[in-house]
């Protein structure tokens, strides 16, 4: 993953909360993620980790508080926000008639400074699967393909929701290396996870959500 990184992006959630029809999906929470830092979001199921990531991505507006990137409110309708934030919250929709390498070629062509196909495949050891169509992948391979696509595009902030899902220990090590690599290039990373080994390897700070 590449990043313009100029000055480093700082993503800040100031006392954000989400209440829908009286149900509190996320109690008031504040978190700051600096460029080159990885923050692990921890908490039991239903604590609001995914909700917080959705608020950070600008896809959902908070009921209270605000999320700002470089001092400007985050709103996914803005092209600047979409350029800055790469997210793996819900898996991206894949074209049923493109192979994995086709998808990566499309990403590489349309994003400036995206990783070349070979690099993106190598990052998650997907070389052997390059000519597979999405329906020919196992659930774990599919998760790797999603990760490869998200890490291939340039971003200043990376938001990951339980990226370790369905990955074996070796693939988790690849994921940890990819997150560390992004962090070293100045990308701000927020990662919700239930995997202590992954958190141990990548997190600079831990934030407990829902408390």
């Amino acid at each position: 993953m590449t990043s313009d990184g100029a000055g480093g992006a700082r993503l800040v959630a100031e006392r954000v909360s989400l209440v829908i029809d009286g149900a509190t999906l996320l109690p008031e929470t504040s978190v700051e993620i600096d460029a080159g830092e990885c923050v692990a979001l921890l908490g039991p199921n239903g604590a609001g980790k995914t909700t917080l990531l959705r608020l950070l991505s600008g896809r959902v507006r908070p009921s209270g508080g605000r999320v700002v990137l470089r001092g400007s409110p985050v709103d996914e309708r803005q092209a600047a926000t979409r350029r800055a934030l790469a997210t793996l919250i819900e898996p991206p929709a894949l074209y049923p008639d493109l192979t994995i390498s086709d998808h990566l070629a499309l990403v590489a062509a349309l994003w400036d400074d995206a990783d070349p196909v070979g690099t993106a495949l190598a990052r998650f050891e997907l070389g052997a699967l390059r000519d597979r169509f999405p329906h020919e992948l196992s659930s774990g391979q599919r998760q790797l393909a999603h990760l490869a696509l998200v890490f291939a595009r340039p971003a200043e902030v990376l938001l990951l929701d339980e990226p370790e899902q369905r990955l074996d220990p070796d693939r988790r090590a690849l994921l940890a290396a990819a997150i560390r690599g992004a962090r070293e290039r100045g990308v701000a990373v927020a990662c919700a996870s239930h995997a202590p080994d992954l958190v141990e390897r990548v997190a600079d700070r831990r934030v407990r959500v829902g408390e």
Binding site: S57, R59, E76, R77, A79, R82, R83, A86, T87, L88, I89, E90, P91, P92, A93, L94, Y95, P96, D97, L98, T99, D102, H103, A105, L106, V107, A108, A109, L110, W111, D131, R132, F133, H135, E136, L149, V150, R153
Partner: protein, 514 residues
């Protein structure tokens, strides 16, 4: 340890006994209701449609002249080719998933196990064929020939079932049979009319032979194929009944396997890149794309014939109501034919609420994906119209396609062209609406109590089938206007296009907020 062989006949009998108990448990008042439903649908829907089709065909047949029989023969060949392709999805050899896993995978004879299902399917096909033959004979032949028409129709029905069964045997068989039938259709279109009754009889004999050999062929179908088809069918039925026909239809398409090693140089600009992607997608599903191209072209030709003025070279239908009937079928046909070309559009719509993988706004991405299907939706029907014009012109002149044929094509203008282009654009708009549809809104499930009972099912039905129903409705309106009131065609078409545009905008906004 020794394995004691299970006598095949004994296991078959035991399996049938168990399945018989299951059938007994399932037998309840539902059978009475289903019978009532079938009878009422036959009386209220099927009978009037058959009557209307017979009358329309009786009116149109003399206008088609000598080419009518050849056209009918070519259409039959095309239908049989489509039947062969249908074998990829489902066919006479079928069983439920538990039957496949527990019974068909056992030591019993598959010929005997599959025979009842296969023969039942052939029987239904023969009845439907006889019905079609009866309609055709009643409309086009003297009473003395009706029995023969019914017999040939039943035989062709058996042929259709045999083609579907052959299609179940595998991709190679489907491709070979489909190609052979298309070529045969081309030959039939050029044959002297006197050959066609003999060919019809030969087809009927082949159909009867096919029915006799069918259980044997069915037993050669790999169990994996039967299982894949049963699993897919179960998914599709469940999704269709639960009000998600778009996903149900998407499941019907066999997964793409063609061209996995095609490398591509993706343009750096978004619109050409997406256009190229959609083109690759279409090429990677060649059978579906070819079928879509043929259907779009064919619908254009049919529309041209339906909307040609009475007395003109294409004027096969005498009045606006008949044209509207054909227009409704053409509208629904256009809508269905565009489906395979809209897979990129569907994937883009699926990702609207999720994280964007590409540096385009969801709206721009959708618009880029709409370019290829929109262009084909308009160009191919227009091409079909031109072909019909050329053929109609030459047919009317009684000569070969030449100066008069060119005259016929040049004569395709005004209302006919406007109707074809307008309807094609509307069908494409309805496709965009379909991909933006999303799940069934909960509020539609609210009960609507009336003296006749809860009518909420009508809401669900309207939601479920809004695409094809709207396509048929606008098809009927546009074709009817083209014949009955051509001066009103343009303003009405513009109004519909505008209304659909607003509908797309509303659904897009809803989809983004989902």
């Amino acid at each position: 340890m020794t394995v004691r062989p299970v006598p095949a006949e004994g296991s078959l009998a035991r399996a049938r006994a168990v399945l018989g108990r299951r059938a007994t448990r399932a037998a309840d008042d539902g059978v009475v209701y289903r019978t009532y439903l079938v009878v009422m649908i036959a009386l209220v829907v099927v009978a009037p449609v058959l009557r209307a089709a017979t009358l329309a065909l009786a009116d149109a047949w003399p206008g088609l002249g000598a080419s009518g029989a050849n056209t009918a023969g070519a259409v039959v060949c095309a239908v049989l080719a489509a039947c062969a392709l249908l074998g990829a999805q489902r066919g006479p050899a079928s069983a439920s998933l538990p039957e496949i896993d527990l019974v068909l995978s056992g030591p019993g004879s598959r010929v005997r196990l599959l025979a009842p299902t296969v023969l039942r399917a052939f029987g239904v096909a023969a009845v439907l064929g006889a019905l079609g033959g009866g309609v055709f004979g009643t409309a086009t032949a003297p009473p003395a020939a009706w029995a023969l028409a019914i017999a040939v129709g039943a035989g062709l029905g058996l042929c259709a079932a045999a083609a579907v069964l052959a299609g179940q045997l595998g991709r190679g068989v489907r491709a070979a049979l489909g190609t052979a039938l298309v070529l045969l259709g081309a030959v039939v279109a050029l044959l002297p009319g006197s050959w066609l009754p003999a060919l019809g009889m030969a087809a009927a004999v082949i159909g009867v032979a096919g029915a006799a050999l069918a259980p044997g062929f069915a037993s050669r179908i790999p169990l994996r194929t039967l299982r894949d088809q049963a699993a897919r069918w179960e998914d599709v039925s469940m999704l269709a009944l639960s009000g998600d026909p778009a996903i149900a239809a998407a499941r019907l398409g066999a997964p793409v396997r063609v061209g996995r090693r095609w490398r591509w140089r993706v343009p750096r600009r978004a619109v050409p890149a997406i256009l190229l992607r959609d083109l690759r997608g279409a090429l990677r599903a060649p059978a579906r794309s070819l079928l879509a191209v043929a259907a779009l072209t064919g619908v254009g030709a049919v529309l041209a014939v339906a909307t040609g003025r009475s007395g003109s070279p294409l004027g096969a239908l005498p009045d606006a109501p008949a044209a509207a009937l054909v227009g409704a079928v053409a509208g629904a046909g256009l809508y269905a034919a565009l489906g395979p070309l809209c897979r990129g559009l569907g994937a883009a719509a699926e990702g609207i609420g999720g994280p964007g993988l590409l540096p385009l706004s969801p709206g721009r991405l959708l618009a880029a994906h709409a370019i290829l299907p929109s262009a084909l939706a308009i160009l191919l029907p227009v091409l079909g119209t031109m072909i019909a014009g050329a053929a109609g012109g030459s047919g009317a002149a009684g000569g070969t396609v030449g100066a008069s044929g060119a005259g016929g094509a040049a004569g395709i203008a005004g209302p006919i062209l406007l109707a074809v282009i307008g309807l094609a654009a509307m069908a494409q708009q309805l496709r965009v609406l379909a991909v933006l549809k999303g799940p069934l809104p909960q509020r539609l499930l609210a009960p609507i109590p009336t003296p006749a009972g809860d009518l909420s099912a009508l809401n669900v039905l309207a939601w479920t089938f809004d695409g094809p129903v709207c396509a048929a409705a606008v098809g009927a309106l546009i074709a009817g206007l083209a014949v009955g009131a051509p001066q009103a065609l343009l303003p009405v078409a513009l109004l519909i296009l505008l209304g659909l545009g607003y509908w797309i905008r509303a659904r897009y906004r809803t989809a983004r907020g989902r």
